[in-house]
């Protein structure tokens, strides 16, 4: 696959492409298409589900499905870009009990390697840092590639208190559920 992408690029872009591919480390690099990618979350308040999304994040992804263990990814999330479409929640999220934007404007997911789980199933093994709390996270996802375009989709269940999200009177989980699903859907082009 990667050879075909590289060849196509060579035909189209000649020297520019040749330069871009000159470093072997970049051979499995991907360029995320923001318009066809999303990072979201789902939770529940008093048993009523809600969902939200982060509109601003950037990802550096090195992933070769043939050699997943050599891969690496780093996603930096602008926590101020989170919206749920509900005014009360959107006003609350930046507060210190929740994301505490003043002190922790960014969250980082860093995958140090990938694992093939058979078929199109994979896992990203790494760490997630929110509100300054770094925890080991395994993100299961599926991956399919058509030509140079790859599509990865996965989700992971987090316990919000692991990252000090929803502290103080919210820590009991009585009003807002403790489990939060984070969903990642990425469409990217192989470089």
């Amino acid at each position: 696959m990667s050879l075909r992408c590289r060849n196509r690029r060579m035909i189209v872009g000649l020297f520019a492409a040749a330069l871009a591919q000159s470093s072997p480390a970049l051979a499995s690099g991907w360029t995320v298409d923001p318009a066809r990618s999303s990072l979201g979350f789902r939770g529940d308040q008093s048993g009523t589900p809600f969902s939200g999304r982060f509109s601003r994040w950037r990802a550096e992804i090195e992933f070769d499905p043939a050699r997943p263990a050599a891969g690496h990814a780093r996603i930096v999330i602008d926590m101020s870009s989170a919206t749920t479409g509900d005014g009360q929640k959107d006003i609350s999220l930046p507060q210190s009990d929740w994301f505490d934007l003043k002190h922790f404007p960014q969250a980082v997911f860093e995958a140090v390697r990938f694992h093939a789980k058979g078929g199109n199933a994979y896992e990203a093994e790494g760490s997630l840092t929110i509100k300054g709390v770094r925890r080991r996270v395994i993100l299961p996802f599926t991956f399919v590639q058509h030509g140079c375009v790859g599509h990865a989709s996965g989700s992971v269940e987090l316990l919000r208190l692991d990252f000090h999200i929803g502290e103080g009177p919210w820590a009991s989980g009585q009003m807002v559920g403790l489990g939060v699903a984070v969903t990642l859907d990425v469409t990217a082009t192989r470089r």
């Binding site: 308040q45 009523t48 005014g87 009360q88 006003i91 009990d97 103080g168 009177p169 009585q174 009003m175």
Partner: protein, 195 residues
């Protein structure tokens, strides 16, 4: 008995009855929401509705007080003994105090709450917290005390409401004057039964 030919104007009647409905709703919602299991969806929604209606009553009551100051109230029937006049004026003064004071107390309770749930009136209009009070919201004691006083105030309002309705019915059914009729909406101008 002299006639009371005039009725209250449409604005005064409108403000009176909208406030009446809102206050009855607030007492009922307040009673129910504080007895529901904590954290339930219904409780959350009722709190939001209670806040929305309460702030509406605050705004209406400021308008109403302004209207009352610029549009003097109709005279009480001359046949009324002195103590009844005092009681009527006193109860009306209590009403205005509660109509302004209870929403302010409720607003302070919300502002002092460590939950810091933002107020969106009727789910759409953002309403700020009281600045000085929200700075004291670190621990829940203040919000608890304010809420307790607010709740007792609500009970007092309920009692006053019963006295108010009883007095209006007494005027209409026993004293047979126009005190009730002149505040009823959708009536033709009252000529006064003794005129």
């Amino acid at each position: 008995m002299p006639s009371l030919p005039r009725r209250y104007d449409a604005i005064a009647i409108f403000l009176h009855w909208v406030t009446a409905l809102a206050v009855i709703g607030l007492i009922a919602i307040g009673f129910v929401m504080t007895r529901l299991s904590a954290g339930s969806h219904m409780q959350f929604m009722l709190f939001q509705l209670h806040k929305s209606i309460g702030i509406t009553v605050l705004v209406l009551s400021v308008v109403r007080l302004g209207w009352r100051v610029t549009h003097p109230t109709l005279p009480l029937p001359i046949a009324m003994p002195h103590w009844e006049r005092v009681a009527a004026r006193l109860s009306h003064a209590f009403f205005y105090g509660l109509l302004l004071g209870l929403p302010l107390l409720g607003w302070a309770t919300v502002s002092a709450s460590p939950l810091k749930i933002p107020t969106m009136l009727y789910g759409v209009l953002p309403w700020p917290d009281l600045p000085l009070v929200s700075d004291l919201s670190g621990h829940g004691r203040l919000a608890e005390r304010l809420g307790a006083v607010h709740g007792f105030g609500g009970l007092f309002m309920g009692g006053l409401l019963i006295v108010h309705v009883a007095a209006a019915l007494r005027h209409h059914l026993i004293m047979k004057d126009t005190v009730l009729l002149r505040m009823l909406p959708l009536l033709k101008p009252v000529a006064g039964p003794t005129q």
